[in-house]
Symmetry: C2
Subunit: 436 residues, 2 copies
Amino acid sequence: MTATTVVPHVVILGAGFGGLSAARELASAPVRVTLVDRHNYHLFQPLLYQVASAGLEPADIAYAVRGIFQRAPRVSVHAGEVTGVDWERRQLHFDDDSTLSFDYLIIAAGAVTATFGIPGVDEHAFGLKSVADAVALRSHVLGRFELADADRSAIDRGALTFVVVGGGPTGVELAGALAELFRTVLVKDYPSLDVDRARVVLVEATDTLLGAFHPSLREHALSELRARGVEVRLGTAVEKVTADEVQLSDGSAIATQTLVWAAGVRANPLADRLGVEQTRGGRIVVDEHLQVPGHPGVYAVGDIAASLDRAGNPLPQLAPVAMQGARHAARQIRRSLAGRPPVPFRYRDKGTMATIGRHAAVAQLPLGIRVRGFPAWLAWLFLHLLLLVGFRNRLSVLLNWAWSYITYDRAQRLIFAPEAYGGRRPPSAGPSATAR
Amino acid sequence: MTATTVVPHVVILGAGFGGLSAARELASAPVRVTLVDRHNYHLFQPLLYQVASAGLEPADIAYAVRGIFQRAPRVSVHAGEVTGVDWERRQLHFDDDSTLSFDYLIIAAGAVTATFGIPGVDEHAFGLKSVADAVALRSHVLGRFELADADRSAIDRGALTFVVVGGGPTGVELAGALAELFRTVLVKDYPSLDVDRARVVLVEATDTLLGAFHPSLREHALSELRARGVEVRLGTAVEKVTADEVQLSDGSAIATQTLVWAAGVRANPLADRLGVEQTRGGRIVVDEHLQVPGHPGVYAVGDIAASLDRAGNPLPQLAPVAMQGARHAARQIRRSLAGRPPVPFRYRDKGTMATIGRHAAVAQLPLGIRVRGFPAWLAWLFLHLLLLVGFRNRLSVLLNWAWSYITYDRAQRLIFAPEAYGGRRPPSAGPSATAR
C-alpha cells in the first residue's frame, strides 16, 4: 500500500465481531485503516456448532473480509499473523518477516480454547473455535456412525458416545443439536443400526448449566436437554482424556471416541507476545477508555481484553461486549483526532440467549424479561439471521434452516477431509477410508 | 446386516453417476443391494471446477448417499475401500479387513487423474477430481492473490500465473471460470493490485480444444476464451513441472506457482487389483452385455470400463455413458433373475456441452444440431440443475448462480487451508490423494 505521512494509520488486529465493528466505525473517519487477520474471512462463531452438527456449511457463516470493505476505499485488508510488536517504533511484526507501522492500534484478536492443562485434552479433544474444528468434528461424528454400522461391537467401545464438556451456551447448543441430529436424521440414515444406543453426555464442573442465566431459564434448559435424551452430569469435572475414554472427578469413566471441549477460553496467545499487563486467562488489562495503560492510542477490546463493568468485574467474553467495545475504541480515536478528551466505556447489556433445539431456547433480556420455549426459539433464529454478515449468507442460512425444519433433514451430513480445511485429524479419529 | 440365502445380493462399487443409476434401477428388484463407496456422498464432478473457482460450496454438489436411499429398504450403503476380490468365493475384501459376499457385482468405481509419469506433476500439480482437490485449489488460488497483494515482486515469480493443462471440457471450463473470477470479482477485492497482470494459460498438447466437438464449436470456444483473456497454447505439451515453473515442449518455460492437471484420467486403480483384462488407461474389458469375460454376473460400467460403440471403439469417459451402462447392467441382472437371456448394450449419444463463462457455452446435440453462445449457456445451466441430485442442492446452486450473475460476486472466495498462504499445496490434496 502507498504510505502517506499525513493521514493517521489505524491498524485493527482481528476480523471478528470486534474488529469488524471498529473498521466500520472508522471507514468514514479521516484515517487509513488496515484490518489484519490470519483468515481472509469473518467467521460467525455462534453458529459454528451448526456446522459441526451438519446443519450449515462453513461458507454460510463465513464472509470474505475484502467483500465487506469493497466500497470503503480507506480500509485495506492484510492476511497474516502478528508475531510481535515494537512499541518504540509503533511497528507490528508478521510471521513472513514483514512489518506494519501504526499510529493507532485496536487489538481485537479474540480468544482460543483453553484446556487448563488437563491431561489428554490437547491431544484427544475437539475444539469448536474455527472452521477446521467444525468440519473435523462433523466428519468425525458421522464417521463414528459409519464405523458402528459396519461393526456393532464398536458401540461397546464408545463409538456412539459423544461427550461434550462445558455447560455454557456452546456446550448446551452443541449437545442439543447432536441429539437432534441423531434422533431425527441419522435414525433414518442407519435403519439397521439401533440409533437409540447413541449417547450425548454433557459434563459440567459447576452445579448448573448456563451459569450466566436466571435459575428458571437454567432449569428449563436442563429439562429440555434431558427430554431430548442428553445425559447431563453436573458438578463433574474432567480429570483425564485418552483416545477411548474420559475419566471424571466422581471416579467414573465413560468409554468414548469423541470428546468436545467447550469448557473454557483464554485470550488469544498474541496477548502474551505484546509485553503488556494481563489478567487471569491472559486478557489484556485496559483502562476505563479501553486503552492499554502506558500505550497511548493502543486499545484492546472483546475477548482478548479485560474490560470491566461498573462494579469492577470483568465483562463476559461475548460478541456484544466485543462489538460495543470496538465501536467505543474507534470513537475514542475519532475524538483524539478531533482533539477531544476520551470518555469512559459503558457496556449496555442487551441480553443473552441459547437454543436447545427445535422450538426450544432460553433468552434473558434487559429489565429482567425472560423468555423460553417457542417464542425464545423464534427470537433466537431471527436475531442470528440479523447478525449474520451479508444478504447472501442470511438467505442461505434461512434456506438451510427452513429445509431442516420442514424435512427433518440435514443437507450437510457429508464427511469431508478435515485436512482440506486446515484441520489436523486427532489421533483418535475415524477410519481413513471414510475420512478421506 | 442380516444375511439371507434366498434373496440374491448385488454389490455396486462406486456411488458416482453409474453406481447411483444402477442402485436406483435395482431398488425395486427382488434383490438386496449394497452400494459401496470410500465417501459417504455422491459427488457431482462436472461442477467441481465451480467449487475451485469460488462459485459453489462442496455441499452444493455433494449429496449424502444414505439420504438418497432412505426410502429404499433393500438398498444399504457401506463406506469403505475395496482392496481385492476373491473370485472363487465371490467375496470382496476391504481395507479394514472386513469382507462382503456377492451374487452379482457392478463395478462402477470411475477414474482418477492420470499424470503419465511426467516429471513433477505428481508432486506439484493440483488435480480436480475430489472435494479435497477443489477446496485446496480454491484456497491456493486466493492465497496467491494475498501473497501478491502483500509483496508485488511475487508476481514476477509467477504468483499470479495460473496454468491449466488439458483442453477438454474440464480444462476449458476451469480456465474460463478463473479468468471470470479474476476480472469481475478479485479486481474489486484487490483495488491496489494490478489484477490485469494475473494470467490464465491453457496448455493443450493437440492442435485443438474440445476435440470431441464439431470444429465450428471448437473455434467458438477458442475465441471466447481468448476474448476473456485466457492465453491458449495449442500443440504444446508439458515436459516438466517444478514448484515455480513449468517447462513446455516448445522449449519455453512459464514461471508459475499453480499448475492444474486436467489432461487425462485413467481407470480407478481398483481395476488393477481385480486380476481382470484391462485396456489402455487401465479400463476393464467387458463384452457386449457389459459383463466381465469369464466372470458371470460381474459387470463393469462407466469410466472404469472399456465399453465399445458399434464401430468397436471405446466409448468416451462421460457421465451419460456411465449412467446408461449402469442401467443396462442392472437390467441384465433383472433379466438373469427372470431367466431371460442378456441383450447387448447400445449407447445413445444425447450430446455433450461445455461452458466458457457468462453467456458463453457450446453444445453438440444429436442429429448434428449445434448450439453456442447465450442459448447454449442457458441450456447448460438448465441441464446441470436438472442432473443435480436433490431439490435442496438444486435450490442452493440456483441461488448461488443467481447471486453471482446479478452481483458479479462470488460468496465462496474463502481460504480454508492455512497452507494456502505458504505456497505449497497440502500434501494430502493433490493427484496422489485422488489416486489412492
